[in-house]
Amino acid sequence: MLKIIFPTMMLVPLTWASKPNMIWINTTAYSLLISLISLTYLNQLSDNSLNFSLLFFTDSLSAPLLALTTWLLPLMLMASQFHLSKETLTRKKLYITMLVLLQLFLIMTFSAMELILFYILFEATLVPTLVIITRWGNQTERLNAGLYFLFYTLVGSLPLLIALLHTQNNLGSLNFLLMQYWIQPLPNSWSSMFLWLACMMAFMVKMPLYGLHLWLPKAHVEAPIAGSMVLAAVLLKLGGYGMMRITTLLSPLTSFMAYPFMMLSLWGMIMTSSICLRQTDLKSLIAYSSVSHMALVIVAVLIQTPWSYMGATALMIAHGLTSSLLFCLANSNYERTHSRTMILARGLQTLLPLMAAWWLLASLTNLSLPPTINLIGELFVVVATFSWSNITITLMGTNIIITALYSLYMLITTQRGKCTNHVKSIKPSFTRENALMALHLLPLLLLSLNPKMILGPIY
């Protein structure tokens, strides 16, 4: 694991020692190399996991998320170049340092073997994210967004700490690998229910569960591009990852404690996607679509069948790449029209045809066109919920329809229609931007060829 942790740490001195005109290129190239190293973890030879040390391990659940994290850093660096072009050199370096720090924490979170270590790193990721949002956001609302982001997640996760300490006391270890063998079924009592709540709430807020999702649209909208990308792509997946890890602790309780949360998710999925239908703000639309997709993951994790776990893992990776791509596209519009309002950017297909192609592909993956991995994820989740209860197909079906509608609504509003006068003098799309979109789509398409890589441990 040190193979990627140390290079990531060394990104910081690289940033500060680079010549002014080389900081972006150096860090991007170097982080891309790191991400290539992490690809080897996708090859999980044994059934269980790859142990690196007493502290770190990966298995087929965390390896795809790990690869996604490392893959995203170069993309974030590429995406934020324009955003920071007017800043001073020190600030640029500070910004890159923050992104690197975030990546460092995320790598360690996904590969931590101990729950307490996981918890500490899980909380540590808040710090760089908060700095990125509140320092480099575009408007003053970013402070409010940062506040929401911090408080929702902190309030959610503090009970987890207590629950973990309690479990450590009872069990003697919080090691993921040992836990599988040591775990006792929880007694059916009030205190166990509170334990369940304390353990799950931290991740439910992070996912976010409908009702506790208010921080997400705010944070997404106000964050700079790299912040939105990493939030949508990786930080939300921390929740799903944590839930899948911790449900082993809570074994018999989940089957009935899950009901209210599943109902909330199923309901929230439709609510949030119908909010998307009325959005005028592009970034907000993408943020709400994330909430709706993550609701599917919550449902899938709570159902706890092999198929649903596979669906949840696949959907997390697919959504990570897709939503990050959508944020990049939204940002490329924002850099040209200086507004997040969709209607101001209409008819861009005439001016930027290649960008329109990226938009089309992004929308199609977002509405989960077969045979992309988005479809695999969604289909598995739908099948799992259908077997859980046949009636859910109506809700799932409604959500499928609305997802298709708002994805295409987004596409049509931004790309189709007559070109307006004020966009006629915009810059053409840069190679950097096209490369950015291509690097998002490439893994999506390649993974469709071999989806079992991201189907998780139960596959």
Binding site: I275, G347, V383, I400
Partner: protein, 606 residues
């Protein structure tokens, strides 16, 4: 039999070549459309080899290669099912597409992105081929969705127009509703039969198949524009005419019928779903035929006639004759594509005029188009010994002699009569009488691209039915003997429709109605469907999402219950608790209390 599978694969691979070669320089020069067209024509010729072999030997083949993944007990591979339906359908679709592509070289020659357009058309065709040859549900779903998305792109080809975008979105929306049914069927089959491969699904006996079959019926309703989910089909006329021709003849809309035909081994034992299918089809065929009666847009009339014919195909499946429905798909492809191409030729010649009231007298100006149009219309109505006759007449005869409910039968017969009526109306208004178009327009149809493509389909519209009919193997044998009046019924109602429409048209030409009658309003407003469904439902759902989901729940309740109320209570309680209000004397006094207390506590302990 090696030639059989390899020539099929050659056909399929050939079609992908122009797309793969995009990165080469071919697409940049002018000849790309020509190249695509030639590829499709070669693919057609090669695909006839396995068809003939199949007809000779009757051997069904499944090609299974490239193992995609195995999920627990479900093995997913890339596999092709080469049975009667796919073997016959492939050459038909390729033949029709070949002509349509040649036609669109002529029709779209002024478009700057013509190469792009051809790529879309080709991908549309490829997704349809995937759908037709798929041997498992997932692969079928890939084709199914691919067809839907490609139709979105093609209908919205003129993306500057708001109408085109709306129509494209409508197509996707209605198809997506159908997809829910498809996904439900997939989920059900997975859970109950643990298989997505057709042969395995059909092999497993199951008690109650209502749920998956209802899902498939919903899917077919969406894709084939059956009653309830039909409005996207006439709206899709916003796309370019070649797109309409392709969409309505051999791709997309027949996919739904094709799906039901694929699943006939399950459907033939399920009476509930059969009755539902029958009623749905009958309702569609009557309703859309009624809508077609009063339309003035030439493309809309033909579009509604497609919808009506699709209803007829669904009726055929409802009376448990999937092979006849398939025959009708094949024959319908020829004359419907040709009708659209004729209307395209007319529209193009008259400077994009689509209103039949502004045409007239074209039989002198456009002789070939006129000939083709008349033959197409006659084939559509089922005139004896044209292509449509072989399928349509047989369908109606079979319906007459089967144990079907009288209501559905009557509805179908009325719709058949109406088919003749609106066909007459097209001929009467477009071809006969005095010209009503602008006299300065130069009408010209002497372009080999146009003439050859129409001619080819013209031959198809005359002979194809005969050829395919002689190679059909019906599963349930139709009645061979029947009373004289039942035998003549189809022809009689068609003639009745012709005569009535002709009489009405000639008599009302000079009459003027004071006010529109109610049936007329019903028909021209498309059964009030767009007004009610397209206004009320979106308004309700959108205002629901605005008012309830967004404003009430997200920005009011959730915001106030958690963050706002917490901060409010914190503020209130901190104000209440903190008593630092500037009362210096009191504070010092309280110091005194502490001092005195400490004095007592410290000094008087034991």
């Amino acid at each position: 039999m090696n030639l059989f599978t390899s020539s099929i694969i050659t056909t399929l691979l050939m079609l992908t070549m122009p797309i793969i070669l995009t990165s080469a320089s071919t697409h940049k020069n002018k000849s790309y459309p020509q190249y695509v067209k030639t590829t499709v024509s070669y693919a057609f010729m090669i695909s006839t080899i396995p068809m003939v072999m199949f007809l000779y030997s009757g051997q069904e083949v499944i090609i299974s290669n490239w193992h995609w993944m195995t999920i627990q007990t479900l093995k997913l591979t890339l596999s092709f099912k080469l049975d009667y339906f796919s073997m016959i359908f492939m050459p038909v679709a390729l033949f029709v597409t070949w002509s349509i592509m040649e036609f669109s070289i002529w029709y779209m020659h002024t478009d700057l992105n013509i190469s792009h357009f051809f790529k879309y058309l080709l991908m549309f065709l490829i997704t349809m081929m995937i759908l037709v040859t798929a041997n498992n549900l997932l692969q079928l779903f890939i084709g199914w969705e691919g067809v839907g998305i490609m139709s979105f792109l093609l209908i919205g080809w003129w993306y500057g127009r708001a109408d085109a975008n709306t129509a494209a979105l409508q197509a996707v929306l209605y198809n997506r509703i159908g997809d829910v049914g498809f996904i439900m069927a997939m989920a059900w089959f997975l859970l109950n039969t643990n298989a997505w491969d057709f042969q395995q699904i059909f092999a497993i006996e199951h008690e109650n198949l209502n749920i998956p079959l209802a899902g498939l019926l919903l899917a077919a309703t969406g894709k084939s524009a059956q009653f309830g989910l039909h409005p996207w089909l006439p709206s899709a006329m916003e796309g370019p005419t070649p797109v309409s021709a392709l969409l309505h003849s051999s791709t997309m809309v027949v996919a739904g019928v094709f799906l039901l035909i694929r699943f006939y081994p399950l459907m033939e034992h399920n009476k509930t779903i059969q009755t539902a299918t029958l009623c749905l089809g009958a309702m569609t065929t009557l309703f859309t035929a009624a809508c077609a009666l009063t339309q003035n847009d030439i493309k809309k009339i033909i579009a509604f006639s497609t919808s009506s014919q699709l209803g007829l195909m669904i009726v055929t499946i409802g009376i448990n004759q999937p092979h006849l429905a398939f025959l009708h798909i094949c024959t319908h492809a020829f004359f419907k594509a040709m009708l659209f191409m004729c209307s395209g030729s007319i529209i193009h010649s008259l400077n994009d005029e689509q209103d039949i009231r502004k045409m007239g007298g074209l039989f002198k100006a456009l002789p070939l188009t006129t000939t083709a149009l008349i033959i197409g219309v006659l084939a559509l109505t089922g005139m004896p010994f044209l292509t449509g006759f072989y399928s349509k007449d047989l369908i109606i005869e079979t319906a007459n002699t089967s144990y079907t409910n009288a209501w559905a039968l009557l509805t179908t017969l009325v719709a058949t009569s109406m088919t003749a009526a609106y066909s007459t109306r097209i001929v009467f208004f477009v071809l006969l009488g005095q010209p009503r178009f602008n006299p300065v327009i130069i009408v010209n149809e002497n372009n080999p691209l146009l003439i050859n493509s129409i001619k080819r389909l013209l031959l198809g519209s005359i002979f194809a039915g005969y050829l395919i009919f002689h190679n059909i193997t019906p599963t349930t044998i139709p009645q061979t003997t029947m009373p004289y009046y039942l035998k003549m019924m189809a022809l009689a109602v068609t003639m009745l429709g012709f005569i009535l429409a002709l009489e009405l048209n000639s008599t009302t030409q000079t009459l003027k109605l004071d006010y529109p009658q109610n049936p007329f309003k019903f028909s021209i407003q498309l059964g009030y469907f767009p007004i009610i469904i397209h206004r009320l439902l979106p308004m309700m759902s959108l205002s629901m999402s605005q008012k309830m989901a967004s404003m009430l729940l997200d920005t009011t309740w959730l915001e106030n219950v958690l963050p706002k109320s917490i901060s409010y209570f914190q503020m209130k309680s901190s104000i209440t608790v903190s008593n630092q209000k500037g009362l210096i004397k009191l504070y010092f006094l309280s110091f005194m209390i502490t001092l005195i207390l400490s004095f007592f506590v410290l000094n008087f302990h034991e």
